[in-house]
Symmetry: C2
Subunit: 312 residues, 2 copies
């Protein structure tokens, strides 16, 4: 049996029981990030690997774009726990013929993305590979006294809300895949996301009961909250915006733009559940509600989106 | 200019000024590990990337060996700061035809190596690659009130000492490279190191002034202490043991086994400098002394070993 035959969920099922437990664990593997108790404080830790050809293409993305994306998707995981990113460690495996200018621009992108968050790069490893660029980023963050928000705490009666945009990256990818380079806003959104970092800690302070970021798709990631919390989630799609550019691109490509909103990943919006009586500040926008049961319902219909399998 | 043309030191010189700084940094990039201030405590963080074909070969190492090695070299970096490893995050990029059994045995190896240290695996990422296995491990550790020991604090008059063995991995690699599978002890030492983890925190408590682990070679890593500290280091090689197996293997291969001791990497012994009057407990063994000047001297002769360049 190979990893592509068993697929990602099956693989995780076989791997998780083998993992040694850490005495410092507050939140263990399986959520957006782990949380560890360290010296009276709590540190958030998460890691992502980006493989050239699968997670980025050099003909579609500049090295600066790749650096921003690599930093952003890890810093988004920290925000999705209610943390603030403080430090990155970056492992790079590079073919020997990689241009020095590529590496420099990659780190420039990392620095740009870290700036508003206040995170730094504190370590890394540079090694040679034979085939393509592989990037491994670990982000560390601090909770500053907030309780970590996992995917597992949503309760019937909670409100479901979103901060940030969805569908943009998927629309950009669709455009690029057909050989176009415009609309620029969509293509740029695929190159690196625009993450509402501050909304994560704000949600934790407001008492969010569950949270994650939209990396695999809105419905797929809502489902991860529904499954982890043992609840059902009902949303309406009409509060999500199909922008004029999205509508035009969808018309040109002959697709339904609402699928981008519901199934498109990699925009790293934050989605969270809150006790029903909390007034949500911007940019949080109410999407629906948590009810008893299971599954995700969109406009009253059950959704069977299964999300993205990294091995299939 | 490509990365293999500029080489590792040149690449680092170009990358370091581009790295954003973290407000939490106690020890920044360039040492064995970073140290961050988190909630009143200090967390050690380090990352290493292993590329199939460069850092391990499936025909020489079992997946369990690879798991042990990947965990060990990161936990050794934590020990070399005087820390104790608490948590690993592991990113794996795997070809789709990787056997599930390989992945399971890899994590079994990680678990075995973590056991005595008490570290756990708290997170990770599993993605598909097109070419070969790439492994990115980040280790986090705690200082438990000890001061981190960098490479930069050695002072003239200090004693230079070593804990753990050197030359074993290089001897094993030499044997494997010639197509042999024995002596088993040397070959096994190449497959995964035997790291004296506890000696790191002990050294920090004793007041070690500088410390690192032997990943590139004894002389090369002593040189990294000499350069960072602005001192010269003098050692004698006769306190290092050429084992009977090493002597026999060297004779069979027609090489000088002392080169394995001085230049062989990947055994992850710890080397440290201590104020001259401290009585060193086992397994610490005195190798030489720190003097004014620059460079590393072995048995009175200047050594020009340049260490291992990951890009050349």
């Amino acid at each position: 049996m190979t990893v592509s035959e068993i697929g990602e969920p099956g693989l995780l099922e076989r791997v998780f029981p083998r993992l040694p437990e850490s005495r410092a664990t507050v939140v263990g593997p399986g959520d957006d990030a782990a949380v560890l108790a360290v010296g009276g404080g709590r540190v958030v830790a998460t890691t992502d690997v980006l493989v050239e050809g699968r997670h980025f293409r050099q003909d579609w993305s500049s090295p600066r774009d790749v650096g921003r994306k690599a930093a952003a998707q890890n810093l988004a995981d920290v925000a999705a726990m209610g943390g603030v990113g403080t430090a990155l460690l970056i492992g790079l495996a590079l073919p020997g013929d990689t241009e020095l200018a590529w590496v420099e621009a990659f780190y420039d992108g990392v620095r740009e993305e870290c700036g508003p968050v206040g995170a730094g790069v504190v370590g890394g490893d540079l090694v040679r590979s034979e085939h393509g660029i592989t990037i491994a980023v670990t982000a560390l963050g601090s909770m500053d006294g907030r309780e970590p928000v996992t995917r597992g705490g949503a309760k019937p009666g909670d409100v479901v809300a979103i901060a940030g945009r969805v569908g943009w990256s998927a629309a950009g990818l669709a455009v690029l895949s057909r050989g176009f380079r415009t609309p620029r806003a969509l293509v740029d959104a695929h190159r690196f996301p625009s993450v509402p970092y501050a909304a994560g800690p704000v949600a934790a302070e407001l008492g969010a009961t569950a949270m994650t970021d939209v990396s695999d798709g809105l419905v797929a990631d809502l489902r991860s909250i529904a499954v982890a919390s043992g609840v059902s989630i009902e949303i309406t799609s009409d509060v999500l915006e199909v922008t004029p550019q999205m509508r035009d691109a969808a018309a040109a490509l002959g697709v339904d733009p609402v699928r981008w909103l519901l199934d498109g990943g990699e925009d790293h919006a934050l989605i969270a559940t809150f006790p029903g009586k909390i007034e949500l500040p911007e940019p949080w926008l109410t999407l629906g509600r948590v009810v008893r049961g299971r599954g995700v319902y969109v406009n009253g219909q059950p959704s069977d989106d299964q999300g993205f399998d990294h091995f299939r």
